[in-house]
Amino acid sequence: MGFLDIRNVTKAYGNVQVLHEVDIEVEEGEFLVLVGPSGCGKSTLLNMIAGLESITSGDIAIRGRPMNGVHPSKRNIAMVFQSYALYPNMTVAQNITFGLEMHGVPKSERDKALAEVAKLLQIDHLLARKPGQLSGGQRQRVAMGRALVRNPDVFLFDEPLSNLDAKLRVDMRTEIKKLHQKLKTTIVYVTHDQIEAMTLSTRIAVMFKGYVQQLGTPKEIYDQPANLFVATFMGSPAMNILPATVVTENGAAHAEITDAEGAPRRLRFSQQAMAQWAGRKVLLGIRPEAITDPEGADRKSGNIQQLRNRVTVTEPAGSDTFVTMTLSGKDVIARMRADANVVPAQVFDFAINMDKAVAFDPETEARILA
């Protein structure tokens, strides 16, 4: 039994089922991120944990105490909202202590808690202001302050960074991570941004169409995606997906693809067991950073395959250069060192790290576990 248990939880509005048997155990101190495109059910699940939406079937328990039907204020949770939801008519100090006031905490204790939180978040100088007088980043801190001051069992974050501009978002992300490392609180965090999910979490639940597609550590999710959706949703630029046929050559399994000129080319799989799929079609998944120039290839890899192909476009991005080519009729993006010597419309020797390649069953879209 975990600290926060979500057991076979479903949610339906009338006949429309928006959440299908979600089963997650969250340990104390964990940072769980629910990530997925909009409409995947992640916010619904968060609202159910908060008690803002009812549970159609299944159980949610915090510290072993069943929460079904318990009023939000009695769950010992705190929530940071996407819009921050600061009360516009109250000062920052009143905003932060409103929850304590509602729970009948005496004034002196409220003031003490306020002072601690204000110091932690460095918002001492803002306490007398109204939310309308604050910048986006400051509002974000106040919203976190309001959650922290309650000292709850579980923190719930609902896309808290999506209203900030790009630079501030990165700063606040680091800030949240620091706070988690310092306070060791249990957090459930909803976002549609896969980078936030990767950087912040100790575990990720990737959700799509009301199902948890995969639950795992960021590394598991990234390197061993359970299916095609997880593979393409996580990572930017997205994983390259190529139709391929499995063939055996000298007893070793290869993926047969076509190059820019339409000529067949073969890439040897690292997993020998792929031979079981000989003669069948698969979808080959290769992350952009697994395709480099030969000098930039990962030296620890045991299976670097060279592939000579024509370059379509190069996009220097400062730290990296993205190179596009055509394989099996698809645009394939490679992530190269900034100083890789690639010229558009010329042929180039690409190095593909097949240790990092994965394959999917085109029928079920599940990863082939070989």
């Binding site: 939000p72 204020s73 705190a78 929530m79 909202f81 939801a85 009360y87 409103f98 929850g99």
Partner: protein
């Protein structure tokens, strides 16, 4: 007209502009003339009106017609002036506006922040009630007020105006609260505030503008009502009914100057509201017209 005036990109020639100004001024005249005539003639002695020009300024200035209209003019059969009816109207308007506004605010809060199954139908039924021709409820209302012993009383009129004003006040607050972020309500719930506390501490403090709109709308409508007043007023008739009795009385000489003074007295409260809070007045009219 709430938005800051946005400049039109259209440019016009000199002749066109002169024409436009001319038309605009002519219409200003059309709107102002009746008011001018009423004001000017309310301070003239009667012979100056019947013998002279209604457009000309008074040669002899007198407040006599105003005093007469207020306290001695013949209303129906009693020479009471409009004063008792003015008081009736005040006694009717204040509670009716207060009750319908408070209920409208609570209804709007429930319909936006505590939604339930079929709340759309409830709102639809309330909304349609704004637009019924009141003739359809006159007979049953007369019967019910009689049974309740409220016929011809101020509480009876208050009840009528509250019931038939609820649709509008609910509409105002519903539209206003619909734009209020629901996340704030959710945050307050997690903070431990209940139904009334959320309303009192979170929504009400930001409801100033819509409350002004709702109060002005209700005040104007109820003050200006004639149909309910004449049907159910009995001996406690409101100002509009008394003014009509004053003007339509067929006995004796027609004291035009007193009629005009009376008309201005009847118009004064709503006119004052319009002058002081015209911006909100217009907003109320718009909110009542452009639904949803």
């Amino acid at each position: 007209m709430s938005a800051a005036s946005q400049e039109t990109a259209v440019s016009t020639g000199r002749v066109t502009r002169t024409f436009i100004y001319l038309v605009l001024l002519l219409f200003a005249l059309y709107y102002l003339l009746p008011l001018y005539v009423m004001v000017v003639n309310s301070v003239k002695p009667l012979p100056e009106i019947t013998g002279g020009n209604m457009m000309s300024l008074p040669q002899t200035f007198t407040l006599e017609p105003w005093l007469s209209a207020w306290s001695t003019a013949q209303i129906g059969v009693e020479p009471t002036g409009l004063k008792p009816y003015f008081i009736n109207s005040i006694l009717m308007v204040v509670p009716a506006v207060a009750i319908s506004t408070v209920l409208g605010a609570l209804n709007g809060y429930v319909l936006t922040k505590w939604r339930f199954k079929y709340d759309g139908i409830v709102f639809g039924l309330l909304l349609f009630s704004c637009f019924i021709p009141f003739q359809i409820v006159l007979i049953p209302m007369a019967v019910v007020l009689g049974k309740l012993g409220l016929a011809g009383s101020v509480p009876g009129l208050v009840l009528v105006h509250v019931v038939y004003g609820l649709g509008f006040t609910t509409l105002y607050y519903r539209n206003y609260y619909a734009a209020f972020p629901t996340e704030l309500v959710r945050a307050a719930m997690i903070d431990g505030a209940g139904f009334f506390r959320i309303f009192w501490r979170i929504l009400l403090p930001v409801s100033g503008p819509i409350t002004v709109v709702s109060v002005i709308w209700q005040f104007t409508n109820i003050w200006n009502d004639f149909l309910f007043g004449v049907s159910f007023g009995g001996t406690r008739q409101p100002m509009t009914v008394a003014l009509n009795n004053l003007v339509q009385s067929s006995t004796g000489v027609k004291e035009y100057n007193v009629h005009f003074a009376g008309a201005i007295l009847a118009a004064l409260p709503t006119l004052l509201v319009y002058i002081v809070a015209g911006r909100y007045f217009v907003r109320g009219l718009m909110a009542g017209s452009v639904k949803g």
